[in-house]
């Protein structure tokens, strides 16, 4: 599907202009996920076999002066890899000195169906986490979430990444944060 259609108020998205960096060490899984991304109509898929190779690629893209070289739109990374884990890669991205890399949307994929992994992924600064088994519906949901519901980024002394609070909960206990909301500096990017 390479065309964008608007039906009423709902737009049918096209990923034909997207470039996605897939970071996956296992060739079989590379083939599976790239096949799924092609089915989604992703325009360009770049594959790195580990976090370290991905860092090199992102640095080359970020430092290139050529207008032909564009940064990727989304990074999809396996969580556990021998040559640089998804956790380390995500933290490296969030600590990058160049904004286009620093704010890059990151989706982690793991077969760990544990709360600990989801929390670790979130705390590393990932936007979304996808737990196997894979399905078209699950992948669509995660990509749609990154497109439709991008969370503001938060910088605190011990974290940089998308706001880790997805829902506004009524907190019935003592307030743990002691900072006056008016002291929070808000940076709005200009289009």
């Amino acid at each position: 599907m390479n065309t964008v259609q608007s039906t009423g108020t709902t737009t049918t998205y096209s990923l034909s202009k997207f470039t996605i960096l897939l970071v996956e060490d296992y060739e079989f899984m590379q083939n599976l996920i790239t096949g799924m991304l092609r089915a989604f109509g992703v325009g360009q898929i770049i594959v790195a076999e580990g976090g370290i190779e991905a860092q090199g690629m992102l640095n080359v893209m970020a430092n290139s002066k050529s207008s032909d070289v564009k940064l990727v739109d989304i990074v999809i990374t396996d969580w556990m890899m021998p040559e640089g884990s998804g956790d380390k890669l995500t933290k490296w991205i969030r600590n990058h000195k160049k904004d286009p890399v620093k704010f890059m949307p990151v989706l982690t994929i793991s077969s760990y169906a544990s709360k600990e992994m989801i929390v670790a992924s979130r705390d590393s600064g990932a936007n979304e986490a996808l737990v196997k088994p894979l399905s078209g519906e699950k992948l669509a949901k995660r990509i749609l979430s990154m497109i439709d519901h991008p969370r503001p980024f938060v910088k605190s002394p011990d974290f940089f990444g998308p706001d880790r609070r997805r829902r506004q909960l009524v907190w019935s206990h003592d307030e743990r944060r002691q900072m006056d909301p008016e002291m929070v500096k808000v940076n709005n990017e200009q289009p």
Partner: protein, 173 residues
């Protein structure tokens, strides 16, 4: 519950509201409502999974063979550097088994792949008793493959295999 953090210093916390480039690139308007994917796109992605699932038996057989080979090499070597390399390889192969089996809902094989991978990462295999636990994993994964067992939540054989590994861990760990 951890102690409250003291965010009292000015500019300790900053919020960055970014332009939504993804939405615009996908064909939406930045301040427009939620969009969707065409159902045919999602169906096509599921077809890819179904096709790849048909390759699972051959692929898992190959990965189990690689695991056997690495395990035999590890048992045979006295060289510390080689041993370290093979432990890493073994851990990676166990992770591949977990990934592969988990992707196609072979939950019993995923369970053993996860258990072996976690065990190697936690112990680094520096004691002889720990080799018995790895051997138990290798053996039960071979049985699970040969018997074509898929789910870990049903069947006496699956339960027996899980108990075999658990007993080995309790006895030798």
């Amino acid at each position: 519950m951890s102690n409250p953090k003291d965010y009292t210093q000015e500019e300790d916390v900053e919020i960055y509201n970014r332009v939504n480039r993804l939405k615009v690139k996908a064909g939406g308007e930045e301040d427009g409502g939620p969009g969707k994917f065409d159902q045919s796109v999602i169906d096509n992605a599921n077809t890819v999974i179904t096709k790849m699932a048909s390759l699972y038996p051959k692929e898992i057989e190959n990965v189990l063979k690689a695991l056997d080979k690495e395990w035999d090499q590890l048992k045979a070597t006295d060289d510390e550097a080689e041993k370290k390399r093979l432990v890493e390889r073994l851990s990676n192969t166990a992770n591949q088994i977990k990934d592969l089996a988990g992707t196609f809902s072979y939950t019993l094989m995923e369970y053993f792949g996860d258990s072996l991978c976690t065990y190697i990462l936690e112990t680094s295999l520096d004691k002889e008793e720990q080799f018995i636990i790895v051997q138990a994993h290798v053996d039960v994964m071979g049985v699970a493959f040969r018997e074509g067992l898929k789910d870990d939540d049903g069947g006496a054989v699956a339960e027996e295999l899980k108990a075999t590994v658990q007993k080995a861990i309790e006895k030798y760990n």
